[in-house]
C-alpha cells in the first residue's frame, strides 16, 4: 500500500523503473562511470609506465593487454575514459543550454531576431566545426586542459541544436494553443516554459544526449588528430597511438579496437536511456 502510494506520487519514476531500455542504459552508463573512476585504481601501473614487454594479449595481469611498448592498456583506457567523460559532460551541458535558448528565442519571435540569431547560427554551422576546432586549439597558447577542450568544443557544438530546436519551436508555435496563449498576453518566458518547452522536453533531452555524444566524439576526434589535451591521456590519444604504432597491421586488436568499443558502447547506452525516457515522458509512446 505504501509502495502503491509512492508510485502514485512519482508516476514517471515508476515507468522509468519499469522501462527496460532505460534500465539497461543506466546500468551500462553507471558501470562505465565506475570504470572511469575506480578502474585506474584497480591496476598498480601508471598509464605511461613501461610495465612489461609489448604485444601482450589480454591476460590476468594485463586485462586489456599491453601496448606496443609494453604499457598497460587497461590503465590507459580507464584513465582516458575519465577524461573523455568529463569533457563530454561539461561541453554537452554548455552547448545544449546555449543551443536551446537561442533556438527557442529565434523560433518564437521569428522576424528580425530570428534572422539575426539564425545568421549567427548559420555562420557557426557553415564554418566546418572540425576546422574551426583545429584552428582554435592550434591557436590557443600553452597547454590544453580538460576545461579548455570542453569550451572549445561547445563553441562549435551549439548551433545545430539551435537550428533543430528552432524548427521544432516554429512548428509547435504555429499550433493554435500557442497562438491562443499569445493572444491572451501571457509572458513570453511562460509561453516558452509551459507551451513550447513542455512540449519539447523529451526533444531537448534527446538534444542533450546527442550533445553529450557529440562532445565526446568531437573530443576524441581532436585527440585523434593530435589536438587533444596536451598532458595526460584520453581515449582519442590511446587510439591515435594505436594507429600510429601500427596496432592494426600488427594485429594488436586489444589496443586499437577495445578503447573505441568501450566508448561506442557507452554512447549507445546514452541512446538507450534517451529513447526509454522518451517513452516515459510521452504516455502515448508508452501505450503503443
Amino acid at each position: 500500500m505504501l509502495l502503491e502510494n509512492f508510485w502514485k506520487n512519482h508516476e514517471n519514476l515508476y515507468y522509468v523503473v519499469k522501462n527496460k531500455k532505460v534500465m539497461i542504459g543506466i546500468s551500462i552508463v553507471v558501470f562505465m562511470f565506475l570504470l572511469a573512476v575506480i578502474g585506474p585504481m584497480l591496476t598498480s601501473y601508471d598509464y605511461d609506465e613501461f610495465v612489461s614487454n609489448g604485444f601482450q594479449a589480454p591476460s590476468a595481469d594485463h586485462w586489456f593487454g599491453t601496448t606496443f611498448m609494453g604499457k598497460d592498456v587497461f590503465t590507459r583506457v580507464t584513465l582516458g575514459l575519465r577524461t573523455s567523460l568529463l569533457v563530454g559532460l561539461i561541453a554537452g551541458v554548455i552547448s545544449t543550454f546555449v543551443g536551446c535558448i537561442i533556438g527557442f528565442l529565434a523560433g518564437y519571435y521569428g522576424g528580425v531576431i530570428d534572422e539575426i540569431l539564425m545568421a549567427m547560427t548559420n555562420i557557426f554551422i557553415v564554418i566546418p566545426s572540425l576546422a574551426l576546432l583545429i584552428i582554435i586549439s592550434a591557436y590557443l597558447p600553452g597547454d590544453r586542459g580538460i576545461l579548455i577542450m570542453s569550451l572549445i568544443i561547445s563553441v562549435t557544438a551549439w548551433p545545430w541544436t539551435a537550428r533543430a530546436v528552432r524548427s521544432q519551436t516554429l512548428a509547435i508555435r504555429s499550433q493554435d494553443y500557442v497562438n491562443l496563449s499569445r493572444i491572451s498576453s501571457i509572458s513570453v518566458l511562460q509561453i516558452i516554459k509551459e507551451d513550447i518547452a513542455a512540449n519539447m522536453l523529451s526533444y531537448v533531452f534527446m538534444v542533450f544526449i546527442l550533445q553529450f555524444k557529440g562532445a565526446i566524439l568531437a573530443a576524441v576526434g581532436l585527440e585523434f588528430l593530435g589536438l587533444g589535451p596536451t598532458q595526460g591521456i584520453s581515449l582519442g590519444l590511446v587510439l591515435q597511438n594505436a594507429l600510429n604504432w601500427n596496432a592494426i597491421q600488427l594485429g594488436i586488436w586489444w589496443w586499437a579496437i577495445l578503447p573505441g568499443l568501450i566508448l561506442t558502447i557507452f554512447v549507445t547506452a546514452l541512446y538507450f536511456i534517451n529513447t526509454g525516457l522518451d517513452e516515459v515522458f510521452n504516455p502515448r509512446l508508452r501505450e503503443m
Binding site: 576546422a131 597558447p141 537550428r163 576526434g221
Partner: protein, 329 residues
C-alpha cells in the same frame, strides 16, 4: 515567397562574408609565420635561407599591412584567384582545391544522399513496427555512436588486414593509370568502397534514429487516430506520417553537411584517401593561410548552397513554416 527567398539569400551572403572574414583573420592570429615553417628543413649554404625568406615574404605580400592584404584577398577572390599555396608552392590554391574536392565528392555525395534515404526508410520501417524496432534499434544506436575514425579502423582491421578483401590505401592502385576503362573504374570503386561504407553506415544509424522517433510521434498523433477511425489503411497513415516526420530530417540534412566534412577528414586520414579534408588539416598545421582559405571557401560555399536548397525544399513541403512566414512578413 519571393520575399522569403530574397531574405534568405541576404542572410547567406552576410554569412558568407562574415565566415570568410573569420577564416581570413583567424589564421593570421596564429603564432609563428608560415615562411620559416616552410624553410624549417632548408639546409644548404650559410645565409642562403635569409635570401630565400625575404623573397618569399614579398611573393606572398606578407610585407604589406594586414588591411591591404585583406582587400587584395577580396579583390582576387572575385576573379576566382585564391592565391598561391605556401606548403604546395608554387601550385595555385584553386588547382589544389579542384584536384582534391573531386575525391570528397565521390565519397561524400553518395554517402550523404544514400545514408539519408536508406536511414529514413529504415527508421520509418522500424518506427512502424515495435518488434522490429526493439531488434534493430540497438544496432542503429551502435552505428551512430561509433567514432568515425575508430569505425574506419575496424573496417581496415577486418576487411583490409584479416580478410584482405579490400585495399585500404589511396584512391587507386599504384600501377593503375587513370583512364576511362573498366579496369581503372573497378579499381577506383574497390578503393572507394570502404571509406564510403564507413561514412555511410555511421550516418545511416543517425538518420534511422531520427526518423524512427519522428514516425513514432506521428503515429500517435491525433490525425493518425482520426484517419484510422475513418478506415484509412496503415500504409496511407504511414505515408502521411513519413511526410511530416521527414521535415526535421530535411533540416538535419543541411546541418549535417559540415559534419560530413569532419567525417571525411578522419576517413581520409585512416584510409590514406586523397581529399580536401586531409589538405585542410595539413594547411592548418603548416599555417598555409591561402590553402586554408581555399578549403574553407570551397566548403562554406558548398554548405551555404546546400542550405539554401534545403530552405527552398523545406518551404515547399512545410506549409506551417511558409505560413508563419507570411504572418511575419
Amino acid at each position: 515567397m519571393g520575399k522569403y527567398l530574397s531574405k534568405k539569400v541576404l542572410v547567406y551572403l552576410i554569412t558568407f562574408f562574415v565566415a570568410v572574414t573569420v577564416n581570413w583573420a583567424v589564421p593570421r592570429f596564429m603564432p609563428g609565420d608560415p615562411i620559416s615553417l616552410l624553410l624549417a628543413r632548408f639546409s644548404g649554404m650559410e645565409g642562403g635561407r635569409e635570401i630565400i625568406q625575404s623573397q618569399f615574404v614579398q611573393t606572398f605580400g606578407f610585407d604589406q599591412p594586414l588591411l591591404v592584404q585583406y582587400f587584395n584577398f577580396w579583390k582576387s577572390l572575385f576573379v576566382g584567384d585564391l592565391g598561391i599555396s605556401i606548403s604546395f608552392f608554387p601550385a595555385p590554391v584553386m588547382d589544389i582545391v579542384k584536384n582534391n574536392i573531386i575525391y570528397d565528392f565521390i565519397i561524400l555525395v553518395p554517402a550523404i544522399i544514400l545514408s539519408w534515404i536508406v536511414g529514413n526508410k529504415l527508421g520509418a520501417y522500424s518506427g512502424g513496427n515495435k518488434k522490429i524496432d526493439n531488434r534493430v534499434m540497438p544496432f542503429f544506436y551502435f552505428l551512430t555512436s561509433a567514432p568515425e575514425f575508430w569505425f574506419s579502423m575496424v573496417l581496415v582491421f577486418v576487411f583490409g588486414v584479416k580478410f584482405g578483401w579490400f585495399p585500404v590505401n589511396g584512391a587507386y592502385s599504384s600501377t593503375m593509370h587513370p583512364g576511362f576503362n573498366f579496369a581503372f573504374i573497378f579499381d577506383v570503386l574497390k578503393h572507394w568502397f570502404l571509406p564510403f561504407l564507413s561514412i555511410f553506415l555511421i550516418q545511416v544509424g543517425g538518420w534511422a534514429i531520427g526518423m524512427r522517433n519522428m514516425i513514432i510521434y506521428e503515429k500517435v498523433s491525433n490525425y493518425s487516430r482520426y484517419m484510422k477511425s475513418l478506415g484509412a489503411s496503415d500504409k496511407l497513415i504511414r505515408s502521411y506520417g513519413f511526410r511530416n516526420g521527414v521535415l526535421p530530417q530535411v533540416t538535419g540534412l543541411a546541418i549535417s553537411l559540415s559534419t560530413f566534412v569532419a567525417a571525411a577528414v578522419f576517413v581520409e586520414r585512416v584510409f590514406a584517401y586523397p581529399g580536401l579534408g586531409n589538405i585542410m588539416v595539413k594547411a592548418v598545421l603548416n599555417q598555409d593561410f591561402f590553402l586554408m582559405q581555399g578549403c574553407f571557401l570551397a566548403i562554406i560555399t558548398m554548405v551555404l548552397v546546400a542550405n539554401f536548397i534545403v530552405d527552398i525544399i523545406y518551404m515547399l513541403i512545410d506549409p506551417r513554416v511558409r505560413l508563419s512566414y507570411s504572418e511575419e512578413v
